[in-house]
């Protein structure tokens, strides 16, 4: 099925269904898009306090910065996570806040300033110290487990989920705004040649 046929089927389907819509069916209204609420100019956090929101904004953009493609800030990662956290169980909320707060604790301990006040170089240095599972010698710890890495991993999971499910993140994965996909061609090598690469 090509895109034109798919589109035609789509209209036919919706047209036919218009007269047979069952009671109780949950229909997403045409154009409904939760992303639009995150984009509002008057957006304010519903779960995080302003300081926590600012820390998350800066941390997320340091973890997933703008490169040749937009980063976490443009993906409104902080705004989406604020919404999700407002609906999370209390235990999950507390885990998140504990990890977020640790970045200020760690930054203050090492650089005598909260995370949002670090220079770009300091943020890079700090994240390098906590981003990997081994105990980084420059941190000075000899423990086998490292709380800093656990907090980093916790925040990274949330931030990655939020970024790669945003419009920016989907485009990063090759989303072009179109739904129809074409045909799955599979391996196109000649028989026996597919392991050549």
């Amino acid at each position: 099925m090509n895109r034109r046929e798919l589109l035609r089927n789509s209209f036919l389907t919706i047209g036919a269904a218009a007269v047979t819509l069952p009671a109780g069916a949950r229909i997403f209204p045409a154009g409904e898009d939760a992303w639009l609420a995150l984009e509002r100019a008057d957006w304010t956090p519903v779960f995080l306090n302003p300081q926590q929101n600012e820390t998350l904004l800066v941390l997320s953009d340091a973890m997933i910065p703008a490169t040749d493609t937009p980063g976490a800030k443009a993906a409104l990662v902080n705004r989406f996570l604020d919404l999700v956290l407002s609906a999370e169980p209390v235990a999950s909320q507390n885990e998140f806040l504990e990890s977020l707060a640790w970045f200020d604790t760690g930054a203050t301990e090492r650089y005598k300033a909260p995370f949002v006040k670090l220079t770009d170089e300091e943020k890079q240095d700090f994240l390098n110290l906590v981003a990997y599972p081994h105990t980084h010698p420059r941190w000075g710890s000899t423990e086998t487990s490292f709380a800093g890495h656990e907090h980093f991993s916790m925040m990274k999971r949330w931030i990655v989920s939020a970024y790669y499910s945003s419009p920016v993140g989907l485009k990063e994965q090759g989303w072009d705004g179109w739904a129809a996909r074409g045909t799955f061609s599979g391996c196109e090598h000649q028989p026996g040649e597919h392991k050549a690469n």
Binding site: E5, L6, N9, T13, I14, A16, A17, A18, T20, L21, P22, G24, A25, R26, I27, F28, D33, A34, W35, A62, M63, I64, P65, T67, T69, F80, L83, V84, A87, E88, P89, S92, L127, A131, Y132, A162, Y164, S165, S166, P167, L170, E172, Q173, G174, W175, D176, G177, W178, A179, A180, R181, G182, T183, F184, S185, G186, C187, H194, K195, N197
Partner: protein, 564 residues
């Protein structure tokens, strides 16, 4: 045509449930000229509810774990990968549809109550059973043979496949009969490499998944457009779903009346004739109790729901439920054992991940059973066998280490992964059962089920073997960083509930005959997974459909001979 209240007339057949088997029963019987009432516990479905093309960021919570009310109302249902923020209301509300289990025997019962039932979200894998399965007891002495052979079933598999449209490849493997296939979906490079390696090193067969997804236009439906999210509906009806195929055909005859929100409580009996006269149901909206009459009652409500109705139908001489003179109604519950497998990387393949808007194949590969298929493959410590479902391909590497620009690059570069997951035969054991919980009712006041099931030692040993052989096949293909899983998952997670009203020739050791008719009552039938004698290791829906077609054709003959 004058409108007639469906409750004031008598039908030739009441079909309870509109999913894979109920749809076929309604289609087959109404196309033969019988008057059919098709009762569905849930509401109708509209294609306007389909969300397969809705990008995730348009959802309020993007289906992120833990967030959203749907997880509070559906703590069991959200254990199913297909129950998401997109479509959770297709699945039952667990708070309204309770069941109990022993504290140490959890069972995940994942259900949809809608026209179409679980065909709306099923995984679509469609395999025949063969005599290795139908006559398994003769091979290894465990349990009972089915009262049918592959020769009996083959014509009905043909009918099901030719109507449904199953894409796949013939392999001439004795452990898995071939069928009538639409062109197969393509394999990836890694999958072809794996197929060749497994054949060369182990003599085992890897085939493309046989799936109820069209690869070419078929019976008025369009070929798959490869968006990859079938569980959220399909605007081109390319995967088989009963509302838009069998149920639609049944309604087109003018002989079939569909009643939605009809929650069937029990079968009504006439003690004088020992025949069913109809069913009593609760109107899901008004909560009124109503009765509808028919010459035959056909239960296609899903294995456990059909048995629940029978267990709730005690009357007269049927003191322990209807059709339970053997004492076996509810016994022999099965669900394929899952959990074992292996995954790893195939670094020799450098392909980039398919773009999000590129084609996605909602299908995988299938490793055909190779254990206990002959004397040469007989295992010393377990009986029966398993098949693997899985796939290989490049995926975005969200698990990459680090952060920053390097992390973004690593995600996009991706990794080439291969994964195998076992589906093992679940032995029919009478200590795995369902019964009526005397202290629990659903939101409609209907007594609820108590489900008691564990996977046994055979399943444990079978999965240990599956983990080991999955790992050896991945090693042979050159996989790196192989992760092996051997634990058996909680029962119910395969969503292949089978048994509890098994068929057989002897009324003392079975509940129905080979045409799904209760031994105890000549006009009541259990035409779904309830009648399975053994589970085999193949996905069961195609066999359920073939059993239903066979049973309906036999019933039509009885109507023609005025035996009903």
């Amino acid at each position: 045509m004058m409108f007639q209240d469906p409750l004031t007339r008598s039908y030739d057949a009441i079909v309870v449930g509109s999913g894979a088997t109920g749809g076929w029963a309604a289609k087959r019987l109404s196309e033969a000229g019988l008057n059919v009432a098709l009762l569905e516990a849930g509401r109708d479905v509209s294609p306007r509810e389909f969300t397969e093309h809705k990008p995730v960021f348009e959802l309020k919570y993007r289906n992120i774990a833990g967030a959203g009310d749907w997880r509070k109302t559906r703590p069991v249902q959200t254990q199913c990968y297909a129950c998401t923020e997109y479509n959770y209301d297709w699945f039952v509300n667990d708070l309204e549809n309770p069941y109990s289990t022993p504290p140490d025997k959890p069972f995940s019962w994942q259900r949809i109550r809608m026209v179409g039932g679980r065909t709306l979200c099923w995984a679509r894998q469609s395999y025949r059973l063969g005599d290795l399965d139908f006559k398994a007891a003769s091979h290894d002495g465990y349990g009972q043979d089915w009262p049918v052979s592959y020769k009996d079933m083959a014509p009905f598999y043909d009918i099901a496949e030719e109507y449904v449209g199953i894409s796949g490849a013939a392999e001439a493997n004795d452990a898995l009969p071939d069928g009538h296939f639409l062109p197969p979906m393509k394999m990836t490079c890694g999958e072809l490499h794996f197929r060749e390696s497994v054949a060369k090193n182990f003599g085992r067969t890897v085939t493309i998944g046989r799936t109820a997804i069209l690869t070419e236009a078929h019976n008025g439906r369009s070929a798959c457009h490869y968006c990859g999210t079938c569980e959220r509906g399909c605007i081109s009806y390319s995967y088989f779903s009963s509302p838009f195929t069998t149920v639609k055909d049944a309604l087109k005859t003018g002989k079939c009346t569909l009643l939605t929100n009809a929650v069937v409580a029990n079968v009504e009996m006439d003690p004088a004739t020992n025949l069913a006269t109809g069913v009593t149901f609760v109107d899901g909206k008004t909560r009124q109790t109503k009765t509808i009459r028919a010459k035959t009652v056909i239960l296609c409500a899903q294995a456990l729901e059909s048995t629940r109705i029978l267990l709730n139908s005690s009357s007269g001489s049927h003191t322990a439920g209807l059709g339970n003179s053997s004492g076996l109604l509810g016994r022999g519950l099965m669900d394929h054992s899952t959990g074992a497998g292996a995954a790893g990387e195939l670094p020799q393949f450098k392909n980039a991940p398919d773009p999000y808007s590129g084609p996605h194949r909602a299908n995988g590969i299938y490793v055909i059973r190779y254990r206990n298929t002959s004397k040469a493959t007989r295992q010393p410590n377990f009986i029966r066998g398993y098949g693997f479902q899985g796939g290989a391909g490049a995926v975005f590497n969200f698990e990459a280490e680090g952060f920053g620009a390097a992390y973004k690059d690593a995600v996009k570069t991706g990794s080439y992964r291969i994964n195998l997951g076992a589906f093992g035969e679940s032995l029919a054991r009478d200590e795995n059962f369902v019964s009526i919980d005397p202290n629990l009712k659903d939101a409609w006041g209907i007594p609820a089920l108590h489900i008691s099931m564990t996977h046994g030692e055979n399943e444990r040993l079978l999965h240990e073997d599956a983990a080991a052989t999955a790992a050896e096949m991945l090693e042979a293909v050159g996989a790196k960083n192989i992760e092996v899983r051997s634990a058996v998952a909680e029962p119910g997670m395969a969503i292949h509930e089978l048994g509890t009203a098994r068929m057989g020739d002897d009324p003392k050791t079975s509940v129905t005959d080979s045409y799904c008719q209760l031994h105890d009552v000549k006009n009541v039938f259990a035409m779904d997974g309830a009648c399975f004698v053994s589970s085999a290791c193949q996905n069961p829906t195609l066999t359920m459909m073939a059993i239903t077609i066979r049973a309906c054709d036999h019933l039509i003959d009885r109507f023609k001979k005025n035996e009903i």
